[in-house]
């Protein structure tokens, strides 16, 4: 490797370490502080003001907004968000694991990347367009029901009800689950499976005793990602849900850009959402550490 001789002959003063660090970290740090940290603190302050609309004076006066969260209708909404998120996570796991397994371990090696890419490609179309497609499919006079009637089967009333939301959410989040599971399964050492087979394990036994424990970090990471994203999902419940699928994200949206203007309550709900998500992650890190140390 040829050394390039600097054109100047006088020695350049070395850039001090702290300046290097500052130059690297300051731009992003300032951006994050301004547009993430300070705004979060602001909505925390706002959450302490009951019943505030734009134009009102901000006077943090108490936890009224947080107490409101314990009223039955709001708990209902939060419960529903949790239900959608959990259900979607389970569905994505059940549907995504076989696909990831097949692509990672059973498919021809040179097609692997292409297959993965092909599975994930629909993510690149706008999620709104894909939800709109589901509307067209699940409508009373949509593709699905037209197909069912032509086959002589009864129609399904799926749109504007919970099933449609589950379908939409699972569809949106399945590629992410498959990606993460694939990364985990790819690293699986096949010799373990061979050893298990040699020792007389049936395929289900090998699966539960070898594959799953080895891919537990991937399962956990994928589930967490899907769960968190599902918890904050706005579009699928809004477009596919109908009258009985108000979720936390929609409720927050309505406090700011909808008919009920209550920026304080919306901020409180946002804080609760942030806390819930942080809790989930903290649990995962704690559980993940325990799991890693026990292996």
């Amino acid at each position: 490797m040829s050394t390039k001789v600097p054109s100047e002959s006088r020695p350049i003063a070395p850039t001090p370490q702290w300046l290097q660090a500052l130059l690297l970290l300051a731009p992003a740090g300032v951006w994050l502080a301004l547009l993430l940290v300070i705004p979060t603190l602001l909505i925390f302050e706002l959450s302490l003001v009951p019943n505030i609309k734009p134009g009102d004076l901000v006077n943090p006066s108490g936890l009224g907004n947080y107490w409101r969260i314990f009223q039955s209708d709001v708990l209902n909404v939060i419960g529903r968000s949790l239900l959608f998120a959990t259900g979607t996570t389970l569905l994505c796991l059940l549907m995504g694991f076989p696909v990831a397994y097949w692509i990672a371990l059973l498919s021809p090696k040179r097609w692997r990347n292409l297959l993965l890419l092909a599975f994930v490609l629909p993510l690149w179309t706008s999620s709104l367009l894909r939800s709109y497609a589901w509307i067209s499919i699940l409508r009373p006079t949509g593709v699905l029901n037209t197909l069912l009637t032509s086959l002589g089967l009864p129609t399904l009333d799926l749109l504007n009800r919970s099933p449609a939301v589950f379908i939409g959410m699972t569809y949106s989040l399945l590629p992410y689950m498959v990606l993460i599971l694939y990364a985990s399964l790819e690293k699986l050492d096949r010799r373990f499976l061979e050893a298990a087979a040699d020792l007389g394990a049936t395929p289900p036994q090998a699966f539960w005793k070898v594959t799953v424990p080895q891919t537990l970090p991937g399962i956990a990471a994928g589930s967490l990602l899907v769960f968190i994203t599902g918890l904050g999902d706005f579009i699928n419940p809004e477009l596919l849900g109908g009258t009985s699928s108000m979720t936390a994200a929609r409720l927050i949206y309505n406090q700011f850009l909808g008919a009920t203007q209550n920026w304080g309550f919306g901020s409180a709900l946002s804080m609760v959402l942030i806390l819930a998500v942080s809790l989930a992650i903290a649990l995962l890190i704690k559980y993940g550490d325990k799991n890693a140390s026990s292996l």
Binding site: T15, L114, Y132, I137, I274
Partner: protein, 268 residues
Amino acid sequence: MQAPSKSPLRISWQALFSVLMFGFMYLPILVLGFYSFNQSPNSAQWGGFTLSWYVKFFNDSRILSALSDSLTVAFCAVGISAIIGTLMAVGLARYRFPGKQLYQGASYLPLIIPDIAIAVSTLVFLAVIAVPLSLWTIVAAHTVFCLSYVAFVVSTRLVNLNPHLEEAAQDLGATPYQSLVRVLLPELMPAIVSGCLLAFVLSMDDFLIASFTAGGGATTLPMEIFSRIRTSVKPDINALSVVLMVASGAVALIAETIRYRSEKKRLQ
């Protein structure tokens, strides 16, 4: 699940299930494509082949301006994030300093916090400092999560890099700046590119943050589509989805080919 067998005739149930899942993934795309060529676009019956919806789409100034707004936001946000996100990842990997945990935590926050919370807090912040909303406020808001994603992807690659490369370069007389740009950057380039692609897709797809931070007539594509779904959908949206799908497929294919070729070159 047995170890893979060499017999070509055995098709595992995982393969069959995966085919089904592929079908599931592409069903909405196919439906949109079907409608985009269908003479009667709202009925599930085939009414005749037509390209009129594509013509309508290319004449739809609102959709095209929304598309251009989205692309502008995405390119600007990703451009800025590529630089400062990479710098941040390098800085975090290299240096220890008081408050590093806090800084690192803050850099992961955008990956964790739900979009709606980010959108709401940004809106309140902009209202407090009385900055009028415009296309650039969207860029500023998008840069936040874009730089987090770029930094995340780059940092996973940094972990696997030989830490002594830069040291060696500096021993040979390179300034820190030179060692960063000429030694580290090429090694990180694949990660930066995939981080940028990820950030680009997320920025194009974002609805909530854009809704809350857009102003001055700026409308992104998701905002326009949402507004249409809630009022009245014109059929040229189907043509739009097919165009987007084909474009993203082409980009993905090109990206994959480049990656495949560069990996082949590396292994030679």
